[in-house]
Amino acid sequence: MTAIGWLQIILYCAIIVALTKPLGWYLTRVFNGERTFLSPVLRPIEAGIYWFSGVDEKREQHWLTYTVAMLLFHVGGFLIIYGVMRLQAVLPFNPAGQGAVAEDLSFNTAISFITNTNWQNYGGESTLSYLVQMLGLTHQNFLSAATGIALAVALIRGFSRASTRTVGNFWVDVTRTTLYVLLPICVVYTLFLVSQGIPQTLGDYVEATTLEGAKQTIAVGPVASQVAIKMLGTNGGGFFNANASHPFENPTALSNFVQMLSIFTLGAALTNVFGRMVGNQRQGWAILAVMGVLFGAGVAVTYWAEAGGTSTLHALGLTGGNMEGKEVRFGIVASSLFAVITTAASCGAVNAMHDSFTALGGMIPLINMQLGEIIVGGVGAGLYGMLLFVVLAIFVAGLMVGRTPEYVGKKIEAREVKMAMLAILVLPLMYLGWTAVGVVYPSAVASMANAGPHGFTEVLYAFTSATGNNGSAFAGLTGNTLFYNLTLASAMFVGRFFMIIPAMAIAGSLAAKKSIPPSAGTFPTTGGLFVGLVVGVILIIGGLTFFPALALGPIVEHLAMNAGQIF
């Protein structure tokens, strides 16, 4: 670890915090339907879209209607992706002549993109045509991100409104998020990325003759436009197999730094939106503080572990940290930081291969995902995941003093706590359950790339990543098999929708409640005690659930490594 490394980390955090308030202000205006500086250009387009698709923007929806609208939207998205993947051989924009994608891989990828997971069982440049990348994947990068944000806003409205049956209009929220937030940022961001060296072309793959006379086929494509939204929308699905470690997806130290910022900014700003909508920005800052504590701890451990290297490297006299699976332009610190960010958010883009991380360095990304990606989290998904834990923490605090717990003026009662527990328990059921199957089912065992405890971690990581809708991988695992295509798809599906539906149920039930003014007996939810309580609940619930699995994987591997054992 170096001082300059820590300075990069501190600079990163400072910029995120500085962006939270102004961006939160802008987002709040967008979600409240107010005018913004982009309205003169975008408002006519927006109104035209509503007219054309038969949306009455003044009509709000009950939480159940809102949820059904969201589900219908996903069904359509699934059909588009599945269709273009199966038909890519006969569709245009296919200069590399890619053939139809297999049924199970198309199914897995379609589920993967509508759930904002972007798990890559496909290798972009070797499997997909430009049309699939644009029409199938880029569009769903936008829409799954917009959906996540819309859902978070609906949940926030549940907290901020009183005695009402509606939580907003899904179609309006998705359209406004896409038009006023994601698209404008992406247009500017794409141009910046191209200036750094990311290709944006529909031309053929380039045939080069290297200095030594060998042939090198260089895959290019409309990369920058997809990378912009893959980061901003915390999607993470790469244009190329190697994702953000590929020099064409992340060419410079600056492009890397900005990509890391773009993973967190919207998610962090949503905490401020929460504060503004419930009438006290400090409520938002308290939530961001909970996230910050967990994030700081994770970065410190991963950076320390990766800078320390492995006993294999030490035995050969190699210093400078664990560079296997890392790029020189990022080095140890930017690779470690990126790994923690991408798993804290549900992004899943990688700029280094997590499979080659040290045991403890790779354990932090795993823990981040197992906690439910609530540290900033996926755009929207992180905030509603965190609010579920807040509901639980408030409930625990209420039990301690024997009062009905309240949060931002709403009584938290049996229904909310049950729904929060349902969402929080479904996740481990998926990743622990499927991992148990994966380590005994013969064809699944054959997919492991590493022997010993590391192989177990590969399987655990895959199902955790899928359930958490993250999409990063211990990529040695051969995921493109019938078993993994189907099981991972089920984990992604359940992980997404069994989190969303309970969260929306809470939104509906909270919106219907009266708002009660704070009294002397109200537990203050803006201070250090609250932050500590929520962190404690997250760690205890998380720790109890997945510590045994971690003990079998990274922890035992770390001990074995220190004892000089290799597999």
Binding site: I49, M134, T201, I218, A224, A242, M323, N351, M353, F474
Partner: protein
């Protein structure tokens, strides 16, 4: 609920057209106009032929060139398309080794490479990036230490003084952005092109 079906279809198609067709095509046109070289992949031409991309590493084995990092990229086996074979710096199929910290395969590979490099230059410590594979398998850079390590070999193969090669390494070394962000590095292809130019 039934009235949600029309927006579910029409709005989806409209937003798909905007984000999946109009946006990427417009960006392709605009980026191609403003940054034509980058948009095409930062290609480098010499004598009218494309020799590679400034951003994509390529394999160097000759003693007179600086070598990049080991690459774990694969290609389909010509004899059996269900299998893959090692194909370093395959820029149509990026990827890393994915070997974990306790992998015997990794330990064996590292030992072999370290022994070979020690034989080549016994006077310096082996830089870690010169024996570890990159995440993409296409890393265009090596650390300044890894370049210095290879100076004696390159100078000998080209029959030029070491100082001259060292100067080229120094002038091809990129520092951190603002002295803070990223890591110091040397672009191997750029350095080798500079070597060839100096030899003319």
């Amino acid at each position: 609920m039934l009235r949600e079906i029309r927006p579910a279809i029409v709005l989806l198609l409209v937003l798909t057209a905007i984000t999946g067709v109009a946006y990427p095509l417009a960006m392709t046109a605009i980026a191609g106009a403003i940054f034509p070289a980058q948009a095409q992949g930062s290609l480098i031409e010499r004598d009218g032929k494309v020799v590679g991309s400034a951003l994509i590493g390529q394999q160097f084995k000759d003693d007179k060139y600086f070598h990049g990092r080991p690459s774990a990229t694969l290609a389909p086996d010509r004899d059996d398309s269900t299998k893959t074979v090692s194909a370093p710096y395959n820029a149509a199929n990026s990827g890393g080794s994915n070997l974990g910290p306790t992998s015997k395969a990794l330990a064996d590979r590292l030992k072999e490479d370290v022994d070979r490099l020690k034989g080549e230059n016994p006077n310096a410590a082996v830089p870690v990036d010169l024996v570890t594979t990159s995440a993409s398998g296409l890393d265009p850079d090596i650390s300044p230490e890894a370049a210095q390590f290879q100076v004696p070999r390159v100078a000998k193969a080209r029959n030029v003084p070491e100082d001259q090669v060292k100067q080229l390494v120094a002038s091809n070394t990129q520092g951190r952005l603002l002295g803070l962000i990223g890591e110091p590095r040397v672009n191997v292809l750029a350095l080798n092109l500079a070597l060839d130019r100096a030899a003319k």
